[in-house]
Symmetry: C2
Subunit: 148 residues, 2 copies
DNA sequence: TCATATGGTCAAGCGGCTTGACCATATTGC
DNA sequence: GCAATATGGTCAAGCCGCTTGACCATATGA
C-alpha cells in the first residue's frame, strides 16, 4: 500500500474517531450530565470495572499522577465517583464509580450506540461487526487515551 | 447491537486512533522534525492541497481563528509554511506549505505507512483495504480534528 | 455610499497539564 | 529487624494552548 493511501486511511480513521468522541460527549451532555469532557469518559472507562487508583488512572490516560488526581477530585466533587481506602495498601485510595457515575456510563453507552446505529445504516450490521473485529485485532488491549 | 457492544467497538476505535496518532507523531519526530504536535499534523493536512486561510484552518481544526493564527505563526516561524497575499481578497492571507513543510508531510505519510503495514501483518492487505473503505463510507469528508 | 459581514491581529485571562518538592506507607536487601 | 529505596498521594508554582473581547482593514450588498 502506498504511503499516500496509508495516510488517507489514517485520515479517515482519525476523522471517524474525532466525530465519535464528539458525538458521545454531546450525547452524554444531552442526557443531563453537563460539564463533562471526553477525558472524563476515558477515566470512567478505566474506573468502571473494579475501580482504580489515581496512579493507575494516570498510566491509562497517559498523564502525570498529579493531573489524574486532579481529574479524580473533579469527578468526586461532581458525585460521579468516591475515594475509598485501598484494601491491602494503606497508601493508596481506590476510586470507584458511584451510582451516578454508573448512570453516566450508561448514558455514554447509549450515545455510542446511537452513533454506531448510524454506521449500521450505511454499512449494514454485519460489516459493522467486521469493522469491530478488525479494530479489535489491531489494538486488543490498548489504553483508550486522548492522544492529541 | 447492544449498547455495551457499541461502547466496546467505540473503545477499540479510539484506542486504535490514539495509538495511530501517537505513532505518526513519533515517526515524524524520529525523522528529524521535532517540536511538532499532532495538532500541527492536522493543520498540514488542511494546508497541503492548495493552502488555506487562517480562518479556514480554524474551522477545520474546530478552534478559534486566534488559536489557528497562533498555530500558523508557529509553523511559519519553524519554516514549514509561509503567508502569501491572498489572490482576490486583500484582507486574507493564504498560508501554504514550504518545501520543508512538504518534506514533513511526506515524513508523516511514511510514518503512517509503517503503522498500517503493521495492521496488514495482522489482518492482511485486503482486510486493511476493506477497513479503509468502511471508514471512508462512514466519514467521507469529516474534518480531521483533535476532538478531545 | 453607508451598513454590515468577514479575515486578521493584539491583549488579557483561564484551565489543564507539567515539574519539583514533600509526606506516608510498602518493599527489598542486608 | 532495620535501614535504604520504591511507590501512592498531595501541595505549590508555572507553562502553554486556547478562549473571550476589542479592534482594524477590506468585502459585500441594500
Amino acid at each position: 500500500m502506498q504511503n499516500s493511501e496509508a495516510m488517507a486511511l489514517s485520515a479517515s480513521l482519525l476523522a471517524v474517531a474525532g466525530e465519535l468522541t464528539q458525538r458521545i460527549n454531546e450525547g452524554v451532555v444531552a442526557r443531563g450530565f453537563d460539564g463533562l469532557r471526553p477525558a472524563h469518559g476515558f477515566a470512567f472507562a478505566r474506573l468502571a470495572p473494579d475501580g482504580a487508583t489515581a496512579t493507575e488512572l494516570a498510566a491509562h490516560l497517559g498523564v502525570t499522577k498529579q493531573a489524574a488526581s486532579q481529574l479524580v477530585d473533579e469527578i468526586v466533587r461532581r458525585g460521579f465517583a468516591e475515594r475509598r481506602p485501598h484494601p491491602g495498601d494503606a497508601r493508596a485510595r481506590l476510586v470507584v464509580l458511584t451510582e451516578r457515575g454508573w448512570a453516566c456510563t450508561r448514558a455514554a453507552e447509549e450515545a455510542a450506540a446511537e452513533v454506531v446505529r448510524g454506521w449500521a445504516d450505511v454499512l449494514g450490521e454485519s460489516e459493522v461487526r467486521a469493522l469491530w473485529e478488525q479494530l479489535w485485532r489491531i489494538a486488543p488491549y490498548g489504553p483508550v487515551r486522548p492522544a492529541w
